[in-house]
Assembly symmetry: C2
Amino acid sequence: MTETSKTDEAIDAKTGWPERYYAVIFTAQRSLSGDDMYEITADRMVTLAQQQPGFLGVESVRGDDGIGITVSYWTDRDAITEWRGHAEHMVAQAMGRQEFYDWYRIRIAEVVSERAFMSDNIVESHTAD
Amino acid sequence: MTETSKTDEAIDAKTGWPERYYAVIFTAQRSLSGDDMYEITADRMVTLAQQQPGFLGVESVRGDDGIGITVSYWTDRDAITEWRGHAEHMVAQAMGRQEFYDWYRIRIAEVVSERAFMSDNIVESHTAD
């Protein structure tokens, strides 16, 4: 429990997230095989991750070329370590290496600064046309 | 130049990247407008970023729903600050807010851990079918 002091820091009023938190940046190339099992497994892992202590959120995008970036956010490194060692997640990780991915890279990073922009026109631009 | 001591640390033999470095996680929703200018501007910004001191690399994916994640990697926070203040980049940022994006979120994070996987079958799976 080396990192739990981080969670004692001030909470961001807008998001409810702690001021300091961690990102897991997962960049991966999907293989050409295992589509059905991949979808089921990926959906299940998001559901499971959301139930883990310390989970804050996830952003995930995959392009037409099969390269995807998933960034998940966690309160501290212990939470990330726990999730990495989750029994069902470990099975999925093995399937990922055997079947789903040609390659992947996982980086753990401590978020030290954050800012956001939202357009005034976001409602109009979404309902136009 | 508060962070330059980071660049004195050991260099990862595999990538040539420093052991500790920073990620800028840019998550954004494209608007429905400005396609041509967006492509030109985005390409130009990648070219420019690659020429900046402290730039290490970039990964970028956009899905069919217009949500994209771009992660760029830098040796230190000063390099990120310099890039943010680059004159041509500032023009592009303003265009981004006025035209290209409904919303975006930018997080700066210090990478503290990294691992990678590459399939033994990567050559075969790319040349099969």
